[in-house]
Point group: C2
């Protein structure tokens, strides 16, 4: 077949994948199910929070002016006019010189604009309260709309929901939320030498590590992985598997068949589909050059290297940025050593992050690129860009948390 | 009832909760379902990884000695003795002066100890290969057990599984893992003024924000929340609800009924159970003093403040450390301003983290403690300890990520 290499720079590869990645769908879900989900539109407050002026202490509602100048030795004497009950409307109105009991969260009655904590008061008989400390206007009061005003933007689109964010929406009476729908991502491992993880490899065989690592990496991005059976490198078998995978998913991740070897039939299969377009075949990066992307209709197939470490690193650097609904978590750190890099490619280096003597340090985990244990030791990776010939010791780097 | 205040320091409260928290149960699950789960025991490698010496490049397997001294102008001439096939045992043996084709990942044949990348070779006719660059012993080879040795500790207990960790275990043929079983955590909101989130509050009523925020906070800790109907502050009704909640869960989180108010029947109800013990009633912290814990048999009830902001903050500082299976994520930052604190209590202050001019800065989010929007703006919180009278601007603080 007329396959030929189309090697691109990392930036270009990422741009092409983002461009051809299926658009995120929206679904509306109950707020209680929205933990870790990502909003798709601006959330505006339907009402003010709080909905009325309320106290933040147990004590007495007063007109602040009635307490001005009072002290331990010269308390203010106020007439007690009943109480505001929790969970009930404050239907009394205070006149100058009057106060009423009010519990934390209680609604401030007409005629008052502050609350005095019970600790700074003393009740004298049934009808009189002594105030030992002056209150400023609106002291110990949360005013209507002070937390969130009606119509205010509560969250922008793209907000990942934490417990307190869900709590805030619940406070506003919002019980459902529009969020990104998880993608369905098909995962196919190819290769004559690949066997199931539970099987004992004969010499020369390799376990299907990629299905496990990629499936959980898809989960980590908030989408749904579907693992398909391992496929041999034969045109018809592979074509059937890809056909099914495309029907049932938004994006297909294949691994194994993208190295430029004699058994590379993946690209032939992919380009045999109608309306298929080779976006790139090869990325000038370390590790993982043999990575390809083909658009087939409105769907996308990404071919990752067969080696598990390369496959997962390539997933993190080219798939995850398009797939996940919020950016990667970044942290800045000082590089622990000089890190040379070949100009003319982008390098991605796993690092361990440690905190030492007031500085966060990124320690590159070098060693043979194929070591599974290195990725497992790593907290993050750093990116040495195309033009850079390396990074110097003590330079500040951005570490992208795995 | 003979309730009386038993206010403790934060450290003591946390210790008591940890001490009486039901022990974590263990379950064995398929490795594919282990993303974000936490291991409960040492994982030892059942086999070496890789299981045999293999190449990391496409090229020729050689005895390194045969290539010593060769160069572009003076290549080594080696006899080509067939090929190692991917996924097959290398059953040929090389003699001095011989090489064979070997694909990436292929098994190194007897008599060879290095691989030369195809880029540095040239085939001359059918039987001869020119080598233009010398190979060191074990160059481009991953030796048996170099990644993980047989019997080596792969993970300690308490490891949270990321995609690469699952990939590493899959590489070793491990298909299931012992992990902490999620706790069942019951959540009960109490209070006459509490209404369902979807209902429109009458004046004086408050939506049941805590059920939403606490349930998702329990999820964030990897456990299963169960929300129960809102309960009025009446002894018999509350007792029935607590009885059911204790039967169905490991731990019960209640909110609303723990302030020292006239309607506080929670503690009376809790202490009416046989074998119940008040661990504390009140913690010297800001925010959230009115927090209580009662052990009932082998289960634990934690009473959180009614106010959603206090309830969630108290959850983070006293419940989460006992509930979650891995420590909170910490990050160090410089404090943006002087932060005074009253000695004789622990203060927990929400902060926004920003990165500015090479330094990570923690900006305290002050303002009224009852503002829901503040917790939602916050990235983390900092802890001002009991003895501290505050923290100075530019001091280094530890921020605990929400």
């Amino acid at each position: 077949m007329g396959e030929f290499l189309k090697v691109v720079k990392y930036d270009e590869a990422l741009q092409k994948i983002k461009e051809h990645f299926p658009a995120g769908q929206v679904e509306e879900i109950p707020l209680l199910e929205a933990f870790n989900r990502v909003s798709t539109e601006v959330v505006l407050s339907p009402e003010p929070l709080p909905a009325f002026d309320r106290t933040t202490v147990d004590g007495y509602a007063v007109d602040a002016e009635d307490t001005f100048g009072c002290s331990e030795s010269l308390p203010a004497f106020l007439d007690l006019k009943g109480e505001v009950k929790m969970g009930e409307k404050a239907d009394l109105t205070l006149q100058p010189g009057e106060c009423c009991w009010i519990p934390t969260g209680g609604m401030l009655p007409e005629g008052s604009n502050a609350a005095v904590m019970v600790e700074y008061t003393e009740k004298l008989g049934e009808d009189t309260v002594l105030i030992y400390r002056p209150a400023g206007p609106w002291e110990n009061i949360m005013q209507k709309g002070e937390d969130i005003a009606e119509g205010q933007e509560v969250f922008p689109p793209g907000k990942k929901m934490r417990p307190q964010d869900i709590g805030l929406l619940a406070s506003l009476g919002i019980t459902s939320l529009k969020v990104f729908k998880p993608y369905n991502i098909g995962i196919i491992s190819t290769g004559d030498e690949i066997i199931a993880v539970g099987d004992k490899p004969q010499i020369g065989q390799i376990r299907d590590v990629n299905s496990y690592a990629l499936a959980t990496a898809v989960q980590a991005c908030g989408s749904n992985p579907r693992i398909y059976p391992i496929v041999q490198d034969q045109f018809q078998v592979l074509k059937k598997a890809v056909t099914r995978g495309l029907e049932e998913n938004d994006v297909l991740l294949m691994s194994g068949g993208s190295s430029v070897g004699i058994k590379d039939v993946t690209i032939d299969v992919l380009l045999s589909f109608p309306d298929s377009e080779l976006l790139f075949h090869g990325i000038a990066v370390k590790p993982g050059k043999p990575t390809l992307a083909v658009r087939i209709g409105k769907k996308l197939v990404i071919g990752l290297p067969g080696h598990p470490v390369s496959a997962l690193m390539m997933y993190y650097i080219v798939c995850a940025p398009a797939l996940r609904f919020t950016p990667a978590v970044e942290i800045e750190a000082f590089l622990s050593m000089n890190l040379p890099s070949q100009a003319g490619r982008d390098d991605f280096v796993p690092v361990k992050l440690v905190y030492d003597n007031g500085r966060r340090i990124a320690i590159p985990l070098l060693g043979k690129s194929g070591l599974m244990s290195i990725l497992s030791l790593a907290d993050a990776y750093i990116h040495i860009e195309y033009e850079q010939q390396g990074i110097k010791q003590d330079d500040m780097v951005t570490a992208y948390i795995f």
